[in-house]
């Protein structure tokens, strides 16, 4: 499921050196420059020594371009890609702990089944449900579970990848120029 780029949220990935402090550098940059990041995920990449970060940035073309350019100024950053315009699959994983009683347990399990979510822990008073999907799906499941009493939520945030054989970011779609006030500048190197 390709995630719709709703109200100016854009997906950016960055390949960075896996060194101590790199997360602090990136997070500090966002805070310092006033960029609005709604999501940040870090994990190992396919190349040893490099991690891949996925960000969801709120903003127009100007902001996205500045984010990319400022990221490039960090010595540990190898590559930055705005993959919003590419054909991507985006997923997040969520763990949801729901209060459960003998009376409503079956109903909860049924809801989970509709969403193809897994129940990964059962205890007398609660269930832990694991689900993977786009943010919309996770939101919808949460909505339905709320009435039973959601005790805890752990969401990983969005990770994304381009469809097909090509590497994510290699499509390098022309950034859409929707915002007229955004400076007209070159695509980052």
């Amino acid at each position: 499921m390709a995630v719709a780029q709703s109200n100016g949220s854009r997906t950016i990935t960055a390949l960075v050196h896996d060194r101590p402090g790199v997360l602090a550098r990136v997070a500090g940059l966002f805070r310092r420059r006033g960029f609005n990041i709604s999501n940040l995920v870090v994990g190992h990449s396919e190349s040893p020594g490099l991690s891949r970060m996925t960000f969801v940035v709120e903003g127009d073309n100007y902001v996205v371009e500045q984010v990319a350019k400022q990221l490039y100024k960090l010595i540990d950053v190898v590559r930055v890609n705005d993959i919003s315009a590419e054909n991507i699959v985006a997923r997040e994983l969520a763990l949801i702990k729901v209060a459960a009683t003998p009376q409503n347990r079956a109903a909860i399990l049924e809801t989970a089944a509709i969403f193809r979510a897994n129940v990964i822990d059962v205890s007398p008073g609660a269930l832990i449900i694991e689900t993977t999907g786009g943010e919309d799906k996770v939101d919808a499941l949460l909505q339905l579970l709320k009435p039973y009493g959601v005790r805890e939520i752990m969401r990983t945030g969005r990770v994304a990848m381009a469809r097909g054989a090509a590497a994510t970011g290699s499509g390098r779609a022309e950034p859409q120029r929707t915002d007229k006030s955004a400076p007209d500048t070159e695509v980052v190197p």
Binding site: K69, E186, P189
Partner: protein, 566 residues
Amino acid sequence: MRLTGGQMVCAALLREGVDIAFGLPGGAILPLYQTLPEYPGLRHVLVRHEQNAGHAADGYARATGKVGVCIATSGPGATNLVTPLATAMMDSVPIVAITGQVPRAAIGRDAFQETDTTGITLPITKHNYLVMSAAELPATLKEAFHVARTGRPGPVLIDLPRDVQTERAEFDYPDDIRMRSYRPTLEGHAQMIKRAARLIRDAERPLILAGHGVLISGAMAELRELAEKAQIPVITTLLGISAVNEDHVLSLGMPGMHGWAHNNWAIDRADLLVAVGMRFDDRVTGRISSFAPNAKVVHIDIDPAEVGKNIRVTVPIVGDAKRVLHALAREVEPAVRTEWLQEIDRLRDEHPSYRIRESDGLLPQYVVRELSDATEGNAIVVTGVGQHQMWAAQHYRFTEPGAWLTSGGLGTMGFEVGAAMGAAMGRPDKTVWSIAGDGGFQMTMAELATIVENRVPVKFAILNNNHLGLVRQLQDLFNDGVRVASGYSGNPDFVKLADAYGVWATRVTERGQVRQAIDDAMAHDGPALIDFMVEPEENVYPHVPAGESVAEMLEGPAPEGERAWR
């Protein structure tokens, strides 16, 4: 060859061509200091305050084009480097700072004199390293110098735990470095250069805005070639001053908040700005929405993040100023722009802000002009921050490139002392004048001791107005004259003070004494100081109020008489 971490630092500095390092020791950096005697080729200058070690490294770097080096201990030593690192970061100055850190096992335990130095300096360095083993040190040192001096230069800090300085490892210093990330773009995009040349051809009222990048990349000849061939007048930003010989007919001087009025009006009318190695700082643009309303913009910069950051750009060119200007100068067609040049001359006549008022008093502008004349415009001039800085920028006529050292981006008072010392040590062949404010000078004047100890022949001209002059000016012009905390009532006698340090000094209270005092200071073989008791309530004009447009520019009282300079 197996060396200790401390020895590695010294050996690497020598390999990088560093001949001087400014610093002050302490427990956490002591192992490194104790190896210094083994490296006589490396001169260490003991400062009185680490801030000035940083500014000295900065002044040395700006004056020589080499990387400046400063050393401090952990904790308070490292935090004292914060101001100079931030200063160098804002002005793109290559510095390598080495700080001591508590031993590895003590990190994170709030040990004595422990601070998170890499954390504190993260936003004010181009990059920094906490080196956790001596084995990593050679490659880290190599990378640090490479990062500091290439691309858009900047300060780099290496934090060295005490026990890494004593640890032994193989020292195999790499000649070259290949980094997977960080590859600055040097060559401008050919297509973009062609587009820029076409815009220049079609323009009727073009201007070049030259910044620090021109000086950093050594693009002065290329800049002149472009300007002359396409007949484009050159405006130099505060940090771009001296990128063109100010006697050149196409040189217009500084724009912006305290720039010449005719320059701000010329920008207002321009139909094309060719910006080179400058970043459209708010002190240049004023209110951004009314800046250069009629102009297309070609923006040449080595840092892609500067292009399009503050203003909308028509043709972006990411690359090294020297290479891009070289290519652009070949691409443009020769042009004649008599009308535009005449229009600027007219603007200059209508708005003669370069004139100074007629007065029998000791005007600070007059002192700067006399200094300019006495040194034939080819001294290295270092300033603090405030009114004296703006008068120096306005009235000293630079005839040699790279001779103007000022804290532009951060605006660091006190820069004038350490930076002048570093510059004079880096360029013993030049006369170095520090044009200082009585406020800023008192922030860092402890280095007079270092200057005397090392026989550094810096000449200080204190433009003493007994005020934090620029603050007083803001209060008088924009805060109904309510002066809060901007006047001094207990300034020291700077002549006696200099005397106590062993610095030759004299005081000037009248116009007629200015030139003689300057000549005497220069004739004196060693550091000298002149305390110029200038008019205490003189204002800097023009003055575009912060965040306003050129239309709001205050041009000051109407000038009478005084000879025109440009």
